[in-house]
Structure formats: structure tokens, C-alpha cells
């Protein structure tokens, strides 16, 4: 630490540059991770809110809620601790000024997927809905009458709930009857028993269902199969992994160049009997100091930027994930320093002092 810190103090500019580069990489990593978390939330927060263990869909729907259609009576074939029925419809909803892509969930208010109301009231009468609070930011308020793209029916926002987005659209929660009227129009009566899925809580047992046409899908699998979800995630995760590799390489090159410049100095120290261990520890300590400062500043910068971003940008910072990524960055920086350590170990003190 002594050598490491004194060298940094003497050659500030050099080390500020390395730290600066590390900081930018960390900034990018944190931002991408924030974006990844944000995009995940955008897709899954309404599902996470259920705290469910699985969802029953039809076999032929291939794990897609949109394509799954079953009868309410099939509830009898499902043996789970707790169940909740779910009907779904995607639509465009407008209040006269604003329009938004929404997902309408038809549910029973006494079942566990009923959301908690954070503003206004729960739906009680016909055509009343609880809307996701992100719609507030788009200019919707309690009392708004909503026209729908696919129906003559008008819905009325009576309350808001938070964290209610599904597959990138805000959710309107309503009772099943209202959903059927919106969804089937004239045919609502005949289709009154149609639902998309049954959400279940409790242990995921093999013999949960005795209907060959149905399939139990674990919640995580269900989310992964949401359109675009896995692709988005993989893209961002790959970018983050590439950045890890890049920062390791940057650190390796920078430190290696610095080390090569100091070969004769290290040689003299080795001739004087200062051990490889001491010198290596010093290089590692130096890398740690630089990387830690870079990562911390990057983290601070990310949080500051995050606070100033418009709500429309889907970033959400998950501190535990960021701490893990930060640690990984410091770790790969140290791996990058290993080259320099090897160089130091290989220095022949005799050559360095030159006879």
C-alpha cells in the first residue's frame, strides 16, 4: 500500500486517467444494468406482484397468455393451495387527449391477484377499472372515461395501483364481466366462462392438474416467454459481460505499460532484496485503489444521472445487482493486473542494475 499510494500521489495525472477510464466503463455498466432492470420491471412487475408460483395455460398456447383460452369450469381440474382466474385483452385506451397501449386484466376482487389500491377506490360497479399508476404520468386521472380501440364499451378509472405493468403496457384491472363485455361485445353472454389463465400459489406439484389440454408453467418460465423479454435481457447482459472483458483488457494494458516503464526501478528494488510478493502486492493494491475509486465515482454518477432522467426512460437501479457488478469490475481489474505481476516476477535484477 505504501508504494502504491505514494506513486499515485506523485503521478496524479496518469492515475486520474486510468481511474477516469474505469469510471466511464463502470458508469456504462451501471447504466446498462439499470436499463436491464428497468426493462425487466416494465415487463414483469405486475406478474411479480402476484407472488404466484405458477400459471395454468392451455397446452396449445405455447406459454403465451394472449393465446391461451379456457373455460372457468376447468378450475375444477386444478388442485392448488390458492387459485385466481385471469382474463386478458390488449387494447388502446384514450381519455380524449391521451392514448395508451394497455392490457386489461379481468379478475375476481376476492382473489389474490387483486391489486392494492394506492389512490382512489377499487372497482365495484360495471366498467370500473383500477389503472396502473404509470398512466398518471401519461396524463390520466381518476374519473377519466376511457374509449377503447376494439369496443363500444367505455371504462372509468376509479383508482390507481402501483407496479402494474405487464409486457411493457400498463394494466387496467377490472372484474371479469366487464372484461367479457369489452372483449366479446354482443357475444359476451355466450363467452361468459372464457378466461385466459389460472394463476396458482403454493407448491408446484406434478399432479396439480388433471386435464391434458392444460399446462402448468412456472412463473419465471412464463415471464421468460413474454414476447421480447428474453431477447432484451440477453442483449443487455451480453453488453455488460463484454464491458467486463473490456475493462479487464484496458486495465491490463494500462498497468502493463506502466510496469514496463518501471522495469529498471523494480529491478533495483529486487536487487536490494525487496521481495516479489511485496512488489506484486503493491501493484494489486494500486489496481484495487484505482478500480474502487473508479467504480464508486461511476456509481455516484449513475445515481445522479438516474435522478434527472425523464420517467419515460425505463431505468431502475437495483442496488444489490449494482454492488455485484461493481465488485466484478474491481475483480476483473485485478485480474488485468496479473500480467504486470508476472512481468515483475520475471524481471532479472541483474539485468536491471546493469554491470
Amino acid at each position: 500500500m505504501f508504494l502504491a499510494w505514494n506513486e499515485i500521489q506523485k503521478n496524479k495525472l496518469r492515475f486520474v486517467l486510468i481511474t477516469g477510464v474505469l469510471m466511464l466503463v463502470a458508469y456504462l455498466v451501471f447504466f446498462l444494468s439499470g436499463l436491464a432492470t428497468g426493462l425487466k420491471d416494465l415487463n414483469r412487475e405486475s406478474v411479480d406482484k402476484w407472488k404466484a408460483s405458477g400459471i395454468v395455460l392451455t397446452e396449445e398456447s405455447d406459454k403465451s397468455l394472449y393465446q391461451s383460452s379456457m373455460s372457468i369450469e376447468q378450475l375444477d381440474d386444478v388442485q392448488a393451495d390458492e387459485t385466481a382466474i385471469l382474463g386478458q385483452l390488449s387494447a388502446i385506451a384514450g381519455n380524449g387527449e391521451e392514448k395508451a397501449n394497455v392490457s386489461i386484466f379481468g379478475i375476481r376482487e376476492d382473489e389474490f391477484i387483486m391489486p392494492e389500491v394506492t389512490e382512489g377506490d377499487a372497482f365495484t360497479g360495471d366498467n370500473e377499472v383500477i389503472a396502473d399508476s404509470s398512466l398518471k404520468e401519461s396524463g390520466f386521472i381518476v374519473g377519466d372515461e376511457l374509449q377503447l380501440s376494439s369496443s363500444e364499451e367505455k371504462l372509468k378509472i376509479v383508482g390507481f395501483t402501483d407496479k402494474g405493468r405487464f409486457n411493457a403496457s400498463p394494466v387496467l384491472y377490472t372484474d371479469l364481466d366487464t372484461l367479457q363485455r369489452v372483449k366479446f361485445g354482443e357475444g359476451a353472454q355466450t363467452n361468459a366462462d372464457r378466461i385466459n389463465a389460472i394463476v396458482i400459489k403454493g407448491d408446484m406439484l406434478d399432479d396439480l392438474i388433471n386435464d391434458e389440454k392444460l399446462e402448468v408453467v412456472e412463473i419465471e418460465t412464463f415471464i421468460e416467454n413474454l414476447p421480447g423479454y428474453t431477447e432484451q435481457n440477453l442483449t443487455l447482459t451480453f453488453m455488460i459481460y463484454f464491458l467486463f472483458a473490456i475493462s479487464a483488457i484496458i486495465v491490463a494494458i494500462f498497468l502493463y505499460v506502466l510496469t514496463v516503464q518501471k522495469i529498471s526501478m523494480f529491478g533495483v528494488m529486487k536487487a536490494q532484496g525487496i521481495s516479489n510478493l511485496y512488489l506484486s502486492k503493491s501493484v494489486i493494491a494500486q489496481t484495487f485503489i484505482l478500480a474502487a475509486i473508479g467504480v464508486l465515482v461511476g456509481l455516484g454518477l449513475t445515481l445522479v444521472t438516474g435522478a434527472f432522467l425523464p420517467a419515460a426512460v425505463p431505468v431502475s437501479f437495483d442496488i444489490p445487482t449494482m454492488l455485484i457488478y461493481g465488485s466484478v469490475l474491481i475483480l476483473v481489474a485485478i485480474i488485468g493486473a496479473v500480467f504486470s505481476v508476472l512481468t515483475i516476477v520475471r524481471i532479472d535484477p541483474l539485468k536491471a542494475i546493469g554491470g
Binding site: 506523485k10 503521478n11 533495483v268 546493469g354
Partner: protein
Amino acid sequence: MTTVLELKQVTKTFGSGHKKVEALKETDFEAKRGELIAIIGPSGSGKSTFLTIVGGLLSPTSGEVILNGQNVTEMSEKQRSHIRLQEIGFILQASNLIPFLTVAKQMKLLDKVKKNNMTGDEIEQLYEDLGIGELRGKYPSDLSGGERQRVAIAKSLYSNPSILLADEPTASLDSDRAYEVMELLQRETKSKNTTSIVVTHDTRLISYCDKVYNMTDGVLKLYEENA
């Protein structure tokens, strides 16, 4: 006087076949406490080879080097590194100072890596002896050649090594400075009762030394002994 260093039938050969160079022919050598020894000789005669073997930086082709009763030749590189740290002080032709440490911190580093550290008073004394007290806040790049060499000597004397090895310590100095440095080496060798071996081209400097050896084509011979 106790013998500090002993070389027994030491040889060093570089390369093999017709490229073979016998840099050091069979050499017996002894140095005692309190002795300042000079080694002179033409370029390429083997002086540095001799010094690096004594310093445990180079392994001899045959023979034994015994320092303070320990056989250095049989040691692993790690053990030799340890011996260099604890028992040997090196002064090199080029500055062996660390560019990013102030004079005081150069000492502090030794304090960190060595055993038997000097007390604050002893370090003060060392500064005073070498006349570098004023320089302690300065970086090597802000020192003159002579000042740098004095700091280097201070470093090599830190915590009283058994033996001090200097390879042309005055090469980069003008003659006044060179005399100053030699005088200093003489004084420190006597007062600390250590052993110093100085390689030099400059025959004017040998008057400071107790013994002078001459190296020619790898053969070391006693040249002069000042009583």
C-alpha cells in the same frame, strides 16, 4: 578482525562452446569487518561479475560464497533475496532511488520491508552523517548527482548491513564530489564497522581504501595494501 565474506575457488563462465567467456577465473577472496576494499581494472575484466556474485545476484559456475557463515551459493532465489535485504547494501552507478518517493519516504520503505529497524534517532544520525537532512522532503529528480548518491549510500547503510557493495558509485560525479563520496564511505565503514567493496575506474580514489585489488581478464590480485 572477523571475516565477513569468503569466496572459495569461485569461477564464472558465460556461454558455452567457442562463445565461452571466462569472466571470473578461480578466485579466493576474504574481507573483514571495518575494511574498505577497492577493485580496479580495465573494462570487461570481470569486476561487476565479481561484485554481483558477492551480492548474491549471480550464481557462480563453481565454488562457494560464504557471507557471515552462511553459504549463499546453496540458497534458493527467495533466500538470497532475503539475504540481500537484510545483510547487503547496494550502491549502483546509476541512481537506485525510487523516483516517486521523497528522500524520507525512501527510508520509510526500507523501514517497512526490513527487520532490525533503526530508531528515529539513529535515522537522524544517518541523515546528519551524510548531510542529507535538508533533502528529506525532496524527490530524486530534484537532487543533484552527488546528493542522489549520498541518499543512495544512506539507503544502503540503513539498519547496518554486514557488507556494502558499490559498483562505480562515483562514475556520474565530478572529482570533488567523487572524493566527498569516497570519504563518506570510508567514514561510514570505520564508524559502523562494516565492510565495503567499491569497484572503480578512478585510481585517484584508491588512497581512501585499506586494500586495493586489481582485476585483469578475470584474475583478481592484491595490488596494494595501505597499512
